[in-house]
């Protein structure tokens, strides 16, 4: 809650900084802690930039070194709890409550600290939900942001991973907050201005470039034949049937398999030019063969991807490039593009018999990230497309008011690993609700948003289910040898299969003996480099040459 004297407090803080540091926006890195203690007051709402890719690691380290006697009771808000320092702020007594969207690698420790009362959670959000709230009741007092280059006026170049920087800067700059930026380099010659200096109060040159995680790089060598079978069934039963033109893929190997099958199996199915032309997606390296084969017209980028810079720069018609020739991504707009897309395809850790899914387990609070926005039926959509109408005709058959329908596809193997079934009678989110003190279970995608569930056992089309019992049996009917699958009603499942609601590989004319890694357009990271004409430059850890 912003207090009425917010602007007065901002003026007072700026005066304190001017007294200690003199005029100008540039703060020396060596005095960062002292500086932060001047601009943060007890109880302030601090937005720290860091997501699933880029990390404001230098400022996080310095924030954790502040004196809790001077700064305490902070309300932390951030897209991703990605660094140990974010949680150190709570153990050091500097912060007391956190609003976030995703916890990724810190999910285990977060669950522990929430369990023992060290961390209080305001709410777990989706990305755009959290960003939207920065403009409403979560207005930041201080925003600590990240840039590649900055000049002395505070103008910023954010590089390929602009992501949410503009939204966070705007929320703070126009909400009486203070904007502080860690930049890799201070320079007089910015190649492009992503954020105008007027929005930025202070810049600090960090001693080390910020960490950037290559989250969207999936090694084709790790795609096995089960995933290829699932990808082929999904392409035949869904892509070929509905012909979605605008789509979003999740970050996992299942969708990477589809991307690598587009130039081969996708071509056989006649998808080229008819489907998969426009995407809301990070620059996935596994998209290179589809791009080179002429499947893709444009990609709206939510973020960038390490190593893809030169390749992306060579495709100005497909990727959003600045006049300087480098990628400009935007999480908020990318999420919106995915929200209004024809189809989302993703994966999850657990699904219950009604199709509800969650990545939260008893000992991990992973958060939601962007999936709930991408993977939700969009009741605010009004423009029409072939896929939207075809799906709507199935979902709303026989109803008075005709409507369209977004396709939301969950692609999962029936088991995550031996003895860890994906299909469970009751999500562990119910347990997490109790431990974290939530009023309702943290569900990632609700069952009634899901249109299709795909496993190695087949495809279940939930749009065609007419009762909740049918929906349940459709899910059980593809849940394999999990306890959920074993409890299927065999007569009902046979009936659903007769009606085409459940389709097995053989119903789709896919012979399991035809499923082979030879179908992948690229079978290794090195193959992707070859497809890119040598422009893709993968990080060292993905190389085997």
């Amino acid at each position: 809650m912003s207090s009425p004297d917010k602007v007065a407090r901002r003026t007072e803080k700026l005066a304190r900084v001017a007294k200690a540091f003199g005029p100008g926006k540039v703060i020396p890195a060596a005095r960062t802690v002292e500086f932060l203690e001047l601009i943060l007051s007890p109880g302030d709402r601090l937005v720290h930039e860091g997501d699933n890719q880029k990390q404001g690691d230098f400022l996080a380290e310095k924030l954790a070194q502040m004196d809790p006697k001077k700064v305490h009771g902070l309300k932390l808000a951030l897209s991703c709890i990605g660094l140990p320092e974010h949680l150190d702020l709570f153990e050091n007594g500097i912060a007391e409550v956190v609003d976030f969207a995703y916890a990724g690698p810190q999910g285990g420790r977060l669950a522990e600290l929430v369990g023992n009362g060290t961390v209080k959670i305001g709410a777990v959000h989706t990305y755009v939900e959290l960003i939207a709230r920065y403009f409403a009741e979560l207005r930041p007092d201080v925003a600590c942001l990240v840039a590649v280059d900055a000049d002395a006026e505070g103008n910023l170049y954010t590089g390929s991973n602009t992501e949410e920087t503009p939204a966070l800067a705007e929320a703070a700059a126009f909400g009486g907050g203070i904007v502080v930026v860690q930049a890799n380099t201070l320079t007089d010659n910015l190649r492009r201005i992503d954020i105008p200096g007027e929005w930025v109060d202070f810049v600090i040159e960090s001693p080390k470039p910020f960490h950037l995680e290559p989250l969207f790089t999936k090694d084709p060598a790790l795609i096995d034949e089960t995933r290829i079978l699932m990808a082929m069934m999904t392409m035949k039963a869904i892509y070929q049937k509905y012909l979605p033109k605008v789509l979003n893929h999740g970050v996992g190997f299942n969708t990477a398999a589809i991307e690598l099958l587009l130039p081969t199996y996708g071509e056989e199915l006649g998808l080229k030019g008819k489907a998969c032309t426009h995407w809301a997606l990070n620059p996935h390296p596994t998209m290179i063969p589809a791009i080179e084969s002429g499947f893709v017209e444009a990609i709206a980028c939510i973020g960038g991807e390490v190593g893809m810079e030169d390749y992306v720069a060579s495709k100005p018609d497909i990727f959003p490039l600045g006049h300087d020739g480098s990628l400009r991504s935007n999480r908020f707009y990318g999420q919106m593009a995915g929200h209004y897309a024809d189809m989302f395809v993703g994966a999850t850790l657990q699904i219950d018999p009604f199709g509800n899914s969650s990545t939260v387990t008893a000992d991990r609070l992973a958060g939601f990230g962007g999936a709930p926005n991408f993977g939700a039926e969009n009741r605010s959509r009004r423009h029409l497309s072939e896929a939207y109408l075809r799906a709507g005709a199935e979902a709303h058959q026989g109803e008075f008011m005709p409507q369209g329908r977004k396709l939301v596809v969950q692609m999962v193997e029936t088991f995550q690993s031996a003895n860890t079934p994906t299909f469970v009678e009751r999500l562990e989110a119910w347990e997490a609700m109790k431990t974290a003190g939530f009023a309702i279970p943290p569900v990632m995608i609700y069952g009634d948003d899901v249109s299709h569930v795909v496993t190695e056992e087949g495809v279940a089309n939930l749009l065609l289910c007419r009762t909740i019992e049918e929906r349940e049996q459709a899910v059980r009917g593809v849940a394999g040898f999990t306890p959920v699958g074993l409890k299927r009603d065999r007569t009902m499942v046979a009936n659903l299969r007769d009606r085409g609601i459940i389709q097995r590989a053989e119903d789709l004319g896919i012979r399991k003996s035809d499923v082979s890694r030879d179908r992948l357009a690229a079978r290794s990271i090195h193959d992707l480099v070859r497809w890119s004409g040598g422009l893709y430059n993968p990080p060292s850890r993905f190389r085997n040459w």
Partner: protein, 292 residues
């Protein structure tokens, strides 16, 4: 850039590699899985066995030339050398020494001796080495082919060192000690086994080719292995004192020239190669660029 699919040696099973290398229909397997010659040791550890103990042996023709061939299956216990596994290879090579086909092809894909069969496996490895020298003594060349997913480490690497010539892809790795072993002994600062680019530029096919350990560098494509192996079929030059002396002198010169280098890239630079580009060159490009 549109790519034409390759028939990957790296991904193929031992049987697929043999089928892809030899003339169609020419392969006759010796002690096939139907004979069920399984490991007598793995049962003690409740570990699964394989009916061929992880190695395929037999005879066939390579572009019309009669050859003996063995192929280790990296997907069974890391292609490890167990007692039966090693005995099958030894038997095949000794049979070749007696029957004199034009070559023995050895498809090595192995982390080394099988831990559960330590002593038997170690003895088995040395028996293979003796058999190779026996084959070479009577003029039958032994050609090693490297490019499988397990690499060629430990005892298998020494077997590779005993061959007349090696064919390798850049995906191949050849080293006595594996990356994890070096990291454990020397520390992560000395060798970070998770830095895949470092592992490959140190132990990989390209570096071994530039050092002269590998005779022919090929792309990861089974027909390329076939052509390269066939071109290397010629009567073996048996090891004699003078050839060993020449080899030792070359090693002394190598230490004198490159002994202070701490990274393969420095070695490539000293060789006059564009060090930053080597990793991205195709087999043909690097072969053309390699200094004489």
């Amino acid at each position: 850039m549109k790519q034409t699919p390759r028939i990957s040696f790296y991904e193929a099973s031992a049987r697929q590699r043999v089928a892809g290398l030899l003339d169609p229909g020419s392969f006759r397997e010796i002690l096939p899985p139907t004979e069920k010659r399984t490991s007598p040791h793995l049962g003690l550890f409740d570990a699964p066995v394989s009916f061929d103990d992880g190695v395929v042996i037999g005879e066939g023709t390579l572009e019309g030339k009669p050859v003996a061939i063995f192929a280790q299956e990296g997907k069974f216990r890391g292609g490890s050398l167990g007692e039966v596994h090693a005995a099958k290879i030894t038997g095949l090579i000794l049979r070749a020494a007696a029957r004199k086909p034009q070559a023995v092809l050895g498809l090595l894909d192995s982390g080394g001796v099988r831990l559960e069969e330590a002593n038997a496996g170690e003895i088995g490895s040395t028996e293979i080495m003796r058999a190779i020298f026996e084959a070479r003594r009577v003029g039958v060349p032994v050609i090693g082919l490297l490019g499988g997913s397990c690499g060629c480490f430990g005892g298998a690497s020494i077997i590779a060192g005993c061959c007349d010539a090696l064919v390798a892809s850049e995906e191949a790795r050849l080293s006595v000690s594996g990356p994890e072993v070096i990291e454990t002994v020397m520390g992560v600062e000395a060798f970070d086994s998770r830095d895949r680019a470092l592992v490959w530029r140190t132990t990989g096919g390209k570096n071994r080719f530039l050092f002269g350990k590998v005779a022919t560098l090929v792309d990861d494509h089974i027909p390329a292995f076939r052509t390269a192996a066939s071109a290397l079929v010629r009567p073996s030059t048996p090891l004699r004192l003078d050839s060993l002396r020449t080899e030792r002198d070359a090693l002394v010169r190598r230490i004198a020239t490159f002994g202070t280098c701490t990274d393969a890239k420095q070695i490539w630079e000293k060789m006059g190669l564009p060090a930053d580009r080597v990793s991205d060159m195709t087999a043909a490009e690097l072969t053309a660029a390699k200094p004489a």
